[in-house]
């Protein structure tokens, strides 16, 4: 709040002036919109003018985080590029649920080739558009964690190192959901998947495995890398907007809970994404040319247990009477390490 004004001002206050002077604490900047927020403080999603890059009628599961993340990202990209966006999609849930013949949910030009080549196809689209003189049309490539961290990894790395003018967005739901929840290299430790069943002495996915794609992207020293979450739309849109203002290879890794694969309630999608951030397990940060430039601080820190417990894929950690305290502690240690590494709390400055 401002402190320079004291006493009363004669005459009724101008509502417009009021919105400028005092923040809207009712919602802070955390809700998507509101009449009292500056127009530029509202999210793209709060606007009826949003592109709805994916429209209704798609066949995603109830509460699909990826459907949400993709619309968030593409609508923000559309606004940033003045509606001139072309999307390339890897095979996966997003592709399947949006484009089963004879209907598509996409309202922007969209291309799907195969599972592992979206980054390369996007490079080709960018080159093709450039050669056709359409320099103002921007290319966004997108895929799930399987197509990004595993099968399309080579193409992605190639796109990065060539610094092709593509924004690649990974919607990370931490397993191969399209094929029935199998482990990917983005599956977290202890998570139960169809190929890391909750059986044996160490049920679920093995600790000490997997890859951190945002950091791998940073190692390419591309102009922009960011992580984002469907739980924080303001942050996500700001990052997409920032990315769209940059030329060259850009990478945004969006955390998108999957009710089916995670065994969570469909209404908890955003809540779980938020808990992932607030626990420190999914740090939100930005990096330019390989250096972390900004982190999103945790607002209300929670133990990892709060995040893990509502998910059936972690149920084996919480068997009544047999709580797996050792592995819970190991997961907490991962979150704590993130908090230290990125300075996610006030006590842990970057």
């Amino acid at each position: 709040m401002t402190e320079e004004t004291t006493g009363s001002t004669p005459g009724p206050a101008s509502p417009a002036a009021a919105t400028q002077r005092v923040r809207f604490y009712q919602t802070g900047t955390h809700t998507l919109g509101n009449r009292l927020m500056d127009a530029e403080s509202r999210t793209v999603q709060a606007s009826t003018d949003r592109a709805n890059a994916i429209t209704s009628g798609h066949r995603a599961c109830q509460g699909c985080g990826e459907a949400l993340g993709a619309r968030y990202a593409l609508d923000a990209a559309m606004r940033a590029a003045g509606g001139k966006v072309v999307a390339v999609n890897a095979t996966g849930c997003l592709e399947v649920f949006t484009t089963p013949y004879p209907e598509t949910s996409w309202q922007i030009p969209w291309l799907h080739s195969v599972f592992g080549n979206a980054p390369a196809v996007a490079s080709g689209v960018a080159a093709g558009l450039r050669m056709r003189g359409q320099k103002d049309v921007r290319v966004v490539a997108q895929g799930g964690d399987g197509s990004t961290t595993d099968i399309g990894f080579g193409c992605l790395s190639g796109m990065f190192e060539r610094n092709d003018d593509v924004l690649y967005i990974c919607y990370d739901n931490e397993a191969y959901m399209n094929t029935g929840v199998q482990r990917s290299s983005a599956t977290p430790p202890a998570a139960r998947t169809a190929t890391t069943p909750a059986l044996g002495a160490a049920p679920g996915n093995v600790f000490g495995t997997g890859k951190n794609l945002p950091r791998i992207a940073m190692a390419h020293e591309i102009p922009y890398v960011a992580t984002a979450s469907v739980a924080d739309l303001h942050d996500l849109e700001a990052k997409v907007t920032r990315a769209m203002a940059i030329c060259g290879a850009r990478y945004i890794h969006v955390h998108v809970p999957c009710p089916l694969g995670w065994g969570s309630a469909s209404h908890d999608t955003i809540r779980l994404a938020r808990l992932a951030v607030e626990s420190g397990l999914f740090p939100l940060f930005e990096a330019e040319h390989g250096e972390v430039t900004a982190v999103k601080k945790i607002r209300r820190k929670v133990p990892v247990e709060d995040y893990l417990r509502p998910q059936r894929r972690f149920a084996h950690l919480f068997r009544p009477g047999h709580e797996d305290t050792q592995r819970l502690a190991a997961i907490q240690a991962m979150a704590d390490a993130n908090i230290r590494r990125y300075g996610l709390t006030e006590e842990a400055p970057l």
Binding site: P12, A13, G63, E103, T104
Partner: protein, 543 residues
């Protein structure tokens, strides 16, 4: 481009809208309004969230208009109300309650500064109503009834209107210019005020041509207690003390004053004594601090000003300036029990602040009127006494005795009187479910601690009757209004519109809220979970 598009692999944009995914739904989201806890807790029935809504956008005139629809004395109430709303405020569980009273006071003061007046929007009804007593209840009823089109006359026994607001609440808490201005505004609506006119005969009043009468004469008779007094110094009651001060007839209390009692009136009396020059103002109370009926902040303010409080003491004997007090202890049931241990205190005068009784004499002979326990008047759910057309409210009926309750009674009585005059019955709309803290998703609210109201410098507080608590500035009032969580009621934050994975929420535009597009809603429930204020609920689809 040339030729036709490839079959099946290439599809026209947005065609999935042909696929109505609403059939997947087993639960449907439904918008609802819940009862905000502040409103629920307000004795005056103020729709606080509603007027805060207007204040949030800086539209103070609209906010004030919404406010006085329930309470015609906001500048007064913003000062003297003990704001149970704030105790109920959900924000209190998040950081600190919204300082509702401070915003209310700001709006009240703002309206006075700006000369805002309420509108009377209905034509005259031709009916006449007599209000007996110009206290908060009577003024409230008069204001509401006038705005409903009725001709109202107030008869007040005393020389000035305001009742306990004037004669019970010291002016350092309620400056008289504020009180006078708000009363004057009510009178300007067309209310006739007859001062120094004590009503003694109800039937006669009806005979004068009043179609209904609302009596709200308050409780002015101070309770006494029997204390063996061998050579009593000055003993007076708090109500008398405060009234005399108000009339400029402040009694000589001496250097040391004991106030006996633990209510807010005791605090007022002790603080007034201090201001009248007492070097020592003491309060003697037979129970513990926790059990004091006075509000904690009043106790705190009294202590700040140097009032000394002796808890767990009863006065057993007075000998000139020596007061013998017995120590008490609290038994298992929470009652004070004597211990047989005694001490003495020295004081020049004793002020009794032990509560008040109602002077029901003028109603005793009215047929049908019943006196309830504790000497108050019995009323039915419509606030009507046993005598048809005779209504009663305020301190003289069974209820908590606060200005706020009284103002609420005035409003409630006005509605029932209005209905009665029109030959109908006012039916209170059913209260929606309470918007409890658990219905909120507080993550969306930013951290914002309460604004502190400034206080007058201590020395000036101890030496004069200047108002102790300062009001909010426009900025701080706006800030405070914007801390409202809008519990249970959509404030158009756009969350539901944004978080729907199926684009199945329709934004209807400012003020119109949202609708669910059930053609596409799959019933995932994210909108309900992510609604900050709990204004969406999931209901099972009917089979």
């Amino acid at each position: 481009m040339t030729g036709t598009l490839p079959f099946a692999i290439t599809l026209d944009p947005g065609t999935s809208r042909l696929n109505h995914t609403g059939t997947w739904r087993t639960e449907r989201p439904v918008y609802l309004s819940r009862m905000p806890p502040c409103n629920h807790a307000c004795p005056a029935g103020e729709n606080i969230q509603n007027w805060l809504f207007h204040a949030e956008s800086g539209d103070y005139a609209a906010a004030w208009a919404a406010l006085i629809a329930e309470n015609p004395l906001p500048a007064v109430m913003g000062r003297v109300c003990y704001h149970p709303c704030e105790g109920a405020c959900n924000r209190g569980q998040l950081d600190e309650a919204v300082s509702i009273h401070a915003v209310e006071r700001f709006l009240g003061d703002h309206a006075l500064r700006e000369g805002l007046v309420p509108r009377v929007e209905v034509p005259p009804s031709g009916r006449r109503v007599l209000v007996v007593g110009a206290g908060p209840s009577g003024l409230s009823a008069a204001s509401h009834l006038t705005r409903m089109g009725h001709a109202v006359t107030i008869r007040e026994a005393g020389p000035l209107p305001g009742g306990m607001m004037r004669f019970g609440i010291p002016k350092y808490r309620l400056p008289r210019d504020i009180l006078d201005a708000e009363i004057a505004r009510i009178l300007r609506l067309g209310v006739t005020l007859e001062l120094n006119t004590k009503v003694t005969d109800i039937d006669a009043a009806f005979a004068e041509g009043f179609d209904a009468i609302f009596t709200a004469v308050g409780a002015h008779l101070a309770k006494r207690t029997a204390i063996p007094a061998h050579a009593a110094g000055r003993i007076l009651d708090a109500v008398t003390l405060l009234a005399q001060v108000e009339l400029g007839e402040a009694p000589q209390l001496g250097r040391r004053v004991i106030v006996y009692g633990g209510g807010n009136t005791a605090m007022d009396a002790a603080r007034t004594a201090k201001r009248l020059g007492a070097e020592e103002a003491m309060i003697v109370y037979r129970r513990s601090r926790d059990q004091m009926p006075a509000h904690a902040f009043e106790v705190q303010e009294a202590e700040d000003e140097g009032v000394l409080i002796h808890w767990l003491r009863t006065i057993t004997d007075i000998d000139a300036s020596t007061f013998t007090v017995e120590k008490m202890e609290i038994d298992a049931e929470g009652r004070p029990q004597p211990t047989g241990t005694f001490e003495t205190l020295e004081a020049d005068s004793l002020v009794l602040a032990l509560g008040q009784d109602v002077d029901t004499g003028f109603l005793a002979r009215v047929p049908g009127v019943q006196i309830a326990k504790d000497g108050v008047i019995a009323v039915d759910a419509q606030m009507m006494t046993g005598r048809a057309g005779l209504f009663a409210g305020g301190d003289m009926v069974p209820a908590e005795r606060t200005v706020t309750v009284a103002v609420g009674h005035g409003k409630k009585a006005a509605r029932h009187i209005d209905a009665w005059l029109r030959g109908t019955t006012h039916v209170k709309p059913p209260r929606p479910a309470l918007a409890g803290f658990e219905t909120l998703n507080t993550w969306y609210y930013d951290d914002a601690p309460q604004t502190r109201q400034e206080h007058l410098a201590l020395l000036r507080r101890q030496t004069g009757f200047e108002e102790v608590t300062h009001g909010l500035t426009e900025d701080t009032a706006l800030y405070e209004a914007r801390r409202c969580l809008s519990c249970g009621n959509c404030f158009e934050c756009d969350n539901c519109f944004g978080v729907c994975p199926d684009n199945a929420v329709i934004k209807l535009g400012p003020g119109a809220g949202f609708a669910i597009d059930y053609d596409y809603c799959k019933g995932c429930g994210i909108c309900a979970t992510e609604c900050p204020c709990g204004a969406i609920q999931m209901l099972p689809e009917t089979t």
